[in-house]
């Protein structure tokens, strides 16, 4: 017989969890005591519960394993909500263990009580309140199972304190059967055959892929398939790295800040092969405008509700991307002849490419795009890049050419500022010894800046690339373009001296103000200070904007290019 608290830890050991990100408090004291008595599961003490969940999230994004966070009841839980919603929007497998007040106090407005299950319900894949210590192990098993299968997502397990004190036999189930939860894996073969037929008839095809390719570890298969078909490939923001960005078939990211060639190819394609992507508003722009072109859409997704949600699909294939790509590859192995008109389509795409839509103006100041280009060079294109949300995020996505999956770690769906630094922590713990850059801005970085302390405690040598323009850049860009330059609340004053701030936490701080200093500073950070966290405060051109841009409500082809300004 062991206690509920020990059961929690034993479950984590059974699940081969090596890191738990968390913060202790009253309701989880028994669990923390059980944690103390063993060494298999290591605990990373963050400085704010939000960061625990973000770090667990990035741990998962960069490793395919389930991320785990542990927090106390009440404010511990409410602080995690942003992180849980972030993971939910990007379908990241995660288990969040929450303390709760003792069972008999639930509903009494007890100290540090909140309705965890109620508060998190809309932003989790599923959640549980454990009511009996005998159910604890099975519940945790279910949580890991649900989080990591089907369309992945975060699962919350709410554990009252008395449950962690009670004792029972520990029996961890090897597998779990749920009559109400049986996600599909294999795609329907008839549909797959139909899809291959359509691909053969395509004259202006495009392969459009998203986070689903990354989540199902199908990047290699996608690359094989795309090369066999010789079709152009575009990735969503979440899909970057799913196909090598340096490959000639890659036309760049599409959407609001997609390339001229990607957006045009997507819009004018007669066949779209959508793989693990969901045609969201930032990707297709105005749906009516997008719907003006006649085309056939093949959509592979594990979640049936993503299919025909925003764009009508002709051939839906519900299944795990990896398995479905396997089937398609088998079918075309016998030989695939693309339509002869595809060659003309490539000519058209090359013409669009000729616009060089990512060209940017030069300036006496440091241009943010230049910093990302240099970061790419200095890291050999092989770093893990986390980002926050805003202009810097788009610059990183546009100018860092990701050739491998799970290297680009950002909040695509919810767009959560503040994730970058804790994401870096999760990535480094999952991939010790790797180069990790956090591309951020002076607005975003301050939303989880306290984690500089965690980075010191665990010696996490993240390289923070702070693109500092003293402005909430993306807000300012919209205000400049659509609000007659009324810069309402987008100017950040009273900024800290980031160099001194970093130093006060025991890290290395650098301020870089001239373009010619960018590359040497980056080299120094990644070589001389390889094992230190380096906070690089790049003072950038305050007028730099992200282009191309599809304004809200506009069609994909109605892009504003840098050259138009």
């Amino acid at each position: 017989m062991i206690s509920g608290a020990e059961i929690v830890i034993r479950c984590l050991q059974e699940e081969k969890v090596d890191y738990v990100f968390g913060y202790p408090g009253g309701s989880v004291l028994h669990i923390y005591d059980a944690l103390f008595k063993q060494e298999d599961v290591k605990h990373i003490l963050v400085r704010h519960e939000q960061a625990a969940v973000h770090a667990a999230d990035a741990y998962s994004r960069s490793s395919q394993k389930v991320g785990v966070a542990l927090v106390t009841s009440g404010p511990g839980v409410t602080n995690t909500v942003t992180g849980i919603a972030t993971a939910y929007m990007d379908s990241i497998p995660m288990v969040v263990l929450c303390g709760q007040v003792p069972t008999q106090y639930i509903g009494q407005d007890a100290f540090q009580e909140c309705d965890t299950v109620g508060i998190t319900r809309p932003c989790v894949k599923h959640n549980f309140l454990v009511k009996d210590v005998k159910d604890l192990a099975l519940t945790i098993k279910k949580a890991f199972h649900i989080a990591s299968t089907g369309r992945p997502g975060p699962v919350v397990v709410d554990i009252p304190k008395d449950i962690t004190a009670q004792v029972c036999e520990f029996d961890y189930p090897k597998s779990v059967q749920m009559r109400s939860y049986n996600p599909v894996v294999k795609g329907h073969l008839g549909q797959i055959k139909k899809a291959v037929q359509i691909l053969q008839e395509a004259k202006r095809p495009i392969i459009y892929t998203g986070g689903g390719v990354i989540l199902s570890d199908a990047a290699e298969k996608l690359t094989t398939l795309a090369r066999k078909l010789n079709f152009p490939v575009t990735n969503t923001l979440m899909g970057l790295g799913g196909y090598p960005a340096t490959d000639k078939q890659f036309v760049g990211m599409l959407g609001m800040h997609g390339t001229f060639e990607a957006n045009n190819a997507m819009h004018f394609a007669d066949v779209i092969l959508a793989i693990g992507a969901r045609f969201d508003d930032r990707v297709i722009g105005n749906p009516e405008h997008f719907g003006e072109e006649k085309r056939r859409v093949i959509h592979i997704d594990i979640d049936p509700s993503s299919i025909s949600k925003r764009v009508k699909v002709d051939v839906p294939i519900v299944g795990n991307v990896n398995d479905v790509l396997d089937e398609i590859l088998k079918l075309i192995d016998g030989g695939f002849t693309a339509d002869s008109e595809v060659a003309d389509w490539w000519k058209q795409i090359d013409e669009w490419r000729g616009r060089n839509s990512l060209a940017y103006r030069q300036s006496e100041h440091i241009m943010p795009q230049y910093v990302v280009e240099k970061l790419y060079e200095v890291t050999g294109g092989d770093a893990f890049v986390t980002s926050d949300v805003g202009q810097h995020q788009m610059f990183a996505a546009q100018y860092y050419k990701f050739d491998k999956p799970r290297r680009w770690i950002n909040s695509g769906g919810l767009g959560t500022m503040g994730v970058g630094l804790p994401y870096g922590m999760g990535v480094l713990l999952a991939n010790p010894g790797s180069q990790v850059a956090c591309v951020t801005g002076e607005g975003s970085i301050q939303m989880c800046i306290q984690e500089l302390s965690t980075c010191k405690q665990y010696e996490l040598p993240i390289k923070i690339i702070n693109l500092n323009n003293g402005m909430l850049g993306m807000v300012r860009q919209w205000q400049e373009m659509f609000y007659s330059k009324r810069y309402s609340q987008s100017y950040v004053t009273s900024l800290p001296d980031f160099v001194k701030l970093a130093e006060s936490y025991g890290h290395v701080g650098m301020r870089i103000e001239r373009p010619e200093d960018v590359e040497p500073a980056l080299r120094k950070a990644f070589t001389e200070y390889k094992d230190r966290l380096v906070f690089m405060d790049f003072i950038i051109d305050p007028g730099a904007n992200v282009f191309p841009m599809v304004a809200a409500g506009k069609g994909l082809t109605e892009m504003i290019l840098a050259e138009d300004i």
Partner: protein
């Protein structure tokens, strides 16, 4: 279009709020909702009356299926089915209205299940439209209180919703 969605769901605390929350979060309509355990007490059967285009209904059924506690979802109105709703209606029954109320209840095959000197409680079962007609047939001034269960329904013949 009007649709009747039938759901088999694990009979667990919070299951109802998962469904209700889904409808409000995604902006779907709920006209009525009834829920009670089935002959298997570990399962509840829920019936939701909703409105929406075919696309919206497709999303509703897909999103419901995605809920981890949901075992099965059927759009009953897609094929032959029977539906019923129960209404209890308290009416003023004095003077000449007393006789008239009794007659109306008989015409609609309702039953008077509570009687006082001045009121009747009439129980009426049927399709929702029949209940609507009954209310419309009464003098509005005589209706003291109504309570309706919302629609429940079941497929005809071999159409069975079971685990």
């Amino acid at each position: 279009m009007r649709h009747i969605i039938s759901i088999l769901i694990e009979n667990e605390a919070g299951a109802l709020s998962r469904v209700a929350g889904l409808f409000s979060a995604r902006g779907y309509n709920i006209e009525s909702l009834t829920v009670a355990p089935t002959e298997d007490p570990s399962l509840s059967r829920m019936t939701i009356l909703t409105w929406g285009s075919d696309e919206v209904l497709e999303q509703i059924t897909k999103q419901l299926n995605k809920l981890v506690d949901v075992v099965k979802v059927v759009d009953l109105s897609e094929a032959a089915h029977v539906e019923r709703e129960l209404m209890l209606i308290k009416v003023r029954a004095t003077g000449k209205d007393r006789e008239e109320m009794k007659r109306m209840a008989d015409i609609f095959r309702g039953r008077i299940i509570d009687v006082t000197e001045s009121t009747y409680v009439i129980e009426l079962t049927g399709a929702s439209s029949k209940l609507d007609s009954f209310i419309a047939a009464l003098d509005a001034g005589l209706i003291l209180e109504t309570v309706r269960t919302g629609v429940c329904g079941i497929g005809r013949g071999d159409r069975i919703l079971k685990v």
